[in-house]
Symmetry: C2
């Protein structure tokens, strides 16, 4: 039988179900009722753990999405003196793990950023914080690469880090809409070319 009364687990289940809904329909499109259906919980349970719908969204950014960036990007880059290789590895790994329907849903961080940044400052601040640790990790790795002699001296670590993040999000974003043949791979090839040319030749 199911384990009864496990508040931490219940909270986690709510956030996971909410993220799945938000990933597909956006935060405004997500319905509290749907979370209840997915988790087989009731209103009472959900509103015991969260003050309102907004609090669920904030918790997802802070706890789930922030952690994802930490695990998938910040940590691997911390141990890397060859950031170009590491970034390409992460991208290819991510690419391999994503089904077609995952591609159509895009990056939840970017989705939330596009949708909520202009209309809710709480979301914007949290998402900006995630982006900052993301670009920060890339910039640090690029700088270390320069010291180790794997990255060209002329590149500005901060600027290029921001551009890389933007390009990556742009690629994922465009691929959501343009399902046409090898759209994603074509764009990824160009990003890879750009990355390779950051290296000392």
């Amino acid at each position: 039988m199911v384990v009864l009364r496990n508040p931490d687990e219940t909270r986690r289940r709510i956030l996971e179900a909410a993220l799945e809904e938000i990933h597909l329909r956006g935060f405004q499109g997500m319905r509290v009722e749907h979370i209840l259906t997915r988790t087989k919980l009731t209103k009472g349970a959900l509103y015991h753990h969260f003050a309102n719908k907004m609090a669920i969204g904030y918790a997802i950014v802070d706890e789930i999405l922030g952690q994802d960036v930490m695990n998938r990007w910040v940590m691997p880059l911390k141990d890397s003196d060859d950031p170009v290789k590491t970034i390409i590895d992460i991208c290819e790994q991510e690419r391999a793990g994503n089904t077609a329907s995952e591609i159509e849903k895009g990056c939840p961080i970017n989705n939330l950023s596009q949708e909520m940044s202009p209309i809710d400052e709480g979301f914007r601040e949290r998402l900006e914080a995630v982006y900052q640790e993301w670009t920060g990790a890339i910039a640090d790795a690029l700088r270390r690469g320069q010291e180790k002699g794997t990255i060209r001296k002329e590149v500005s670590p901060e600027k290029v880090a921001k551009f890389l993040l933007a390009s990556l999000q742009g690629i994922i974003g465009v691929a959501k809409c343009c399902r046409h043949d090898n759209m994603l791979d074509d764009m990824a090839d160009c990003l890879k070319d750009y990355l390779m040319q950051l290296r000392v030749s």
Copy 2:
């Protein structure tokens, strides 16, 4: 006094008001009531011109956003043998015309694409069509540039066109969220560098 009974003008006013709302709040966040407030029209008038909310969204993509891309990108690129210069000009022109609050709202095409592509095929098809004429125009210009000797032979016009569009949308998208100092300009600098290096040196 105001001109009475001008159906074409009324329709246009509805679409413009709807676009402003959608630009800020997204399609799902846009409320029909708000359009009525903005336009000082009534339900009867609005639903005389459009079958439902969805039809308003579709019309905006087809008529307004599609035309914008045509005017701002496709036409200028058609007359250009130096696409790199033309693209940079368009970007800088766009940049100059955008206030801070415009930047926070991002590109309506990208916004709609992120929000609606995964949940409504009608939106997705229309937005993909816009993206296709956009990248098509860039690819054509790059190819012409290669023939005229301004663009390097090694670049793939189709691939680079897609990547340029994605990077641009990514930059605009990230800048929506990260208001921090010179985020936008830092990323734009990198894109400019990438563009310049497409040229024959």
